[in-house]
Symmetry: C2
DNA sequence: GTTCTATATGAACGGGCGTTCATTTCAAAG
DNA sequence: CTTTGAAATGAACGCCCGTTCATATAGAAC
């Protein structure tokens, strides 16, 4: 019926999703009408219902895909190593992944309250799973005496908030390269969890004066 | 005509603002109708226009008041002292101030895109002014050799994102007291900017093994 | 007791909303 | 060719939107 890469095909599922993602990110779910999405696709409003059962599902699918991609990408990227190396990998991965899909990230953070209850619960579970990945690294690092974190849950949330914050100000072609941004945030993240050995600082003197 | 603490008075300006703030925070500006706000106040929709020229102004006033209160409160709270003491004051102030007004904070972060262009610019200017307060502390601290921040602007945005993140998970009566949360975040903030002397860690050994 | 005025009502305005559906279109299969 | 059936239209559904305005209400001032 729908959903197949059909014969007539050109305007198919992916197009509707792409249009919805772009518009939801720019104007917000509640402020975007199905007619506006249809216009973006180049179609009349009724035709959208060949590709999605309703507007809510459109939002939910975007958020679900994003979170699943995030988890899959991290699972694929994760390298072994000590907690410090894993933390570095996580920080760089998180920033890179999020900077590559600003629209999806924006929607995932801003439109949670427009999800119906069950959909909200499902997305939250995925988010929790991602947070758990970082928390495990921090817990391992603390157990190994590498990190100084009084509360791994708090540190997890603090780090993720800090890292995701990059998306609010980063603009393509800005003053700093992504690589440079990653490195600066990595240093801050390491400092925040007390992983001082990991910081590449030219700090000889402060050692004795500390305390 | 309106706006005066009139005789009949009970349902006046502040009530409309309070109702709008509560509803905007819970459901989002675009998803809240004037009729819903009126219902919250206990009045018919038309009566709202005695207290606000339109819905947009209602949103703008809420955000403007919030940002002005924030700046005023910080100006009143700021104590002199070295950059380290000022950073501690800022961190504690920020968390405390934001945890005390979750609805206003939520609106200030989520509804920016629903502001008309000029209103958006005015709010952004206020936000910038607040960020500048923190950046000045970081710049002074770096100049004094107390902080290790390669880029004060980035560090400012990273810290504010981290601190404001508390609002996304804090719930009244949770596992940790506000004071404890403040202290943990303070330690992370100090670590992030390389203000190691400020951390109350029992760390003697790592000094030599660093690098 | 009359006037005044701030406060509120409730109907109405034009318009947009999400969604449905009978109908049309048209490339491919027979 | 004819038939098929997925793809798309466009009109229609009932409903809610922000805002306006003529009208009503009722306490304060005189």
């Amino acid at each position: 019926m729908a959903r197949k890469t059909g014969s007539h095909a050109e305007i198919t599922g992916p197009k509707v999703r792409a249009a919805a993602q772009k518009l939801f990110a720019r104007m917000g779910y509640a402020a975007v009408s199905m007619r506006r999405i249809a216009e973006e696709v180049g179609v009349q409003a009724g035709a959208l219902y060949l590709y999605t059962p309703d507007k809510q599902t459109l939002l939910y699918d975007l958020m679900k895909s994003h979170m699943e991609e995030l988890l899959a990408a991290w699972a694929a990227a994760e390298k072994g190593g000590d907690p410090l190396a894993r933390l570095e990998a996580f920080v760089r991965f998180h920033i890179r992944f999020h900077l590559e899909r600003p629209d999806a990230v924006f929607i995932a953070y801003m439109e949670l309250r427009n999800l119906e209850a069950e959909n909200f619960a499902r997305i939250e579970a995925l988010r929790k799973a991602y947070e758990d990945e970082l928390e495990a690294i921090l817990a391992d690092g603390r157990a190994a005496g590498l990190f100084d974190v009084p509360d791994t849950k708090l540190a997890t949330l603090a780090l993720i908030a800090m890292l995701t914050g990059v998306n609010t100000w980063y603009r393509e072609g800005g003053r700093l390269s992504r690589e440079r941004i990653e490195s600066i945030y990595l240093d801050m993240a390491l400092g925040a969890v007390g992983a001082e050995a990991g910081r590449a600082r030219a700090m000889a003197a402060p050692c004795r004066e500390a305390e």
